[in-house]
Amino acid sequence: MTTPTLAASVWQIVRKDWTVEARSREIAYTTLFFAVSCLLVFAFAIVREGKAPEGAGEGILWATLTFAGTLALGRTFERERQAETLRALLLAPVPRAAVYLGKLVGIVSLLLTVELILAPLVSLLFAAPLLSRPIWLLAILLTGTLGFAAVGTLFAAMLVRARSRDVLLPVLLYPVVVPVLIAGVRGTSALTDPEFDAAIARFWLALLLAFDAVFLTLALWTFELVMAE
């Protein structure tokens, strides 16, 4: 029997997660519904006389993504725990990095799908011209989501057997991902600025890429050691 390559192992794990999700659609539906509910809460909290404060939409988009992402992260690993498949996944003859990367790709793809629905909704509800530069927006959302999920996947995986894991995930995750959220909000705000400056948007995108590189490196190294047993 030949040993599968890292990419092949990652693909197998991603395909497994997608198949499970395609059959139940549990995480996608609950995450999306939760995200829309969050938008409504924000709308009731800050919209006055039919108008949202200027620049609020960008912040609300990222805050909603953070809350909905936390829910999705917790649920992804909770499903593995309930089905007792996490041990099987860790016992699989593949590198630990493949397990981490497979889960990461699964979560990023799920969150990006949610974002594709969320961004037009935020644009509509909070009068934020988010879709005026779609390629830039996609790049900012992709890099921001990757940074958030890189840390989130690691923390959700390691907390799966911890006590009070539901509470601990946001407690640990939010302080660490604050830099990504700041860069994400500022990058998105740069896109909606009437006097759009590509240099500013590039700066925030580069910063997000730098955070992604640091978080991915640290998470890959730590996942191997934390999930050793």
Partner: protein, 218 residues
């Protein structure tokens, strides 16, 4: 306790007792006046805060790699000191900012990244306390991310347009202000070492006691 501990603790206590007199005798800064003297405690506590996060991160990385409990005890002690000195930094900073910037709090890159670093240290302790068995390994992963934030705090003033004084201010201080500052830095460093030693020692005693309890049960 090591032999040097008691003399070091006494010297540290004496230095803390003398430090208000030394700070009071330092000249007044021309624009900020009396409130500038907060700086003599603010900056040393900020340095100890960063030192704590670095020690905690390094010890955690070594603990994950070697599973040596001693490293874990060092990391825990350093995390507690990070929270303590971080709190001092975050309280003394606004006292100065109210006068210098006209507001208690500004979302400046250094202030924000310091708050993030402090929150990560708090999250580390919360996980240790409520995470249940095996949480020390999980907390070690959090500490590594906390350590990664330290260079960001340090360089943030040099790379962003910020109102926080830059790191380059310290070497430009006149001797009359620099000498009290370095005296306070040494005082805080000694306090850090004394508290760290005491805390690691306490954890060692606790783990010995746990081992004795287990041996008694068997």
């Amino acid at each position: 306790m090591p032999k040097w501990f008691t003399p070091a603790a006494l010297v540290c206590g004496a230095m803390f007792a003398v430090s208000p007199l030394i700070i009071a005798n330092a000249p007044y800064e021309s624009t900020m006046g009396l409130v500038q003297k907060v700086f003599y405690y603010h900056m040393p506590s900020a340095w100890m805060f960063l030192l704590g996060a670095l020690v905690c991160g390094f010890a955690s990385a070594r603990y994950l790699a070697t599973r040596n409990d001693r490293q874990d005890r060092t990391a825990l002690a350093a995390a507690e000191l990070t929270v303590l000195f971080g709190l001092l930094t975050l309280v003394t900073g606004p006292l100065w900012a109210r006068r210098a910037w006209g507001t208690w709090w500004v979302w400046d890159p250094r202030v924000t990244s310091s708050l993030v670093g402090w929150l990560i240290a708090c999250a580390y302790l919360i996980l240790r306390k409520y995470g249940g068995p095996g949480s020390e390994r999980l907390a070690a992963a959090v500490a590594i991310f906390g350590m990664a934030n330290v260079p960001f705090i340090y360089i943030s003033v040099n790379y962003w347009r910020t109102i926080h004084p830059a790191t380059s201010v310290v070497p430009t201080l006149p001797v009359s202000m620099g000498a009290p500052l370095w005296f306070c830095v040494m005082t805080f460093l000694l306090l850090f070492i004394v508290l760290m030693t005491m805390r690691v020692r306490l954890e060692e005693s606790k783990s010995r006691l746990d081992a004795l309890h287990l041996a008694l049960d068997e």
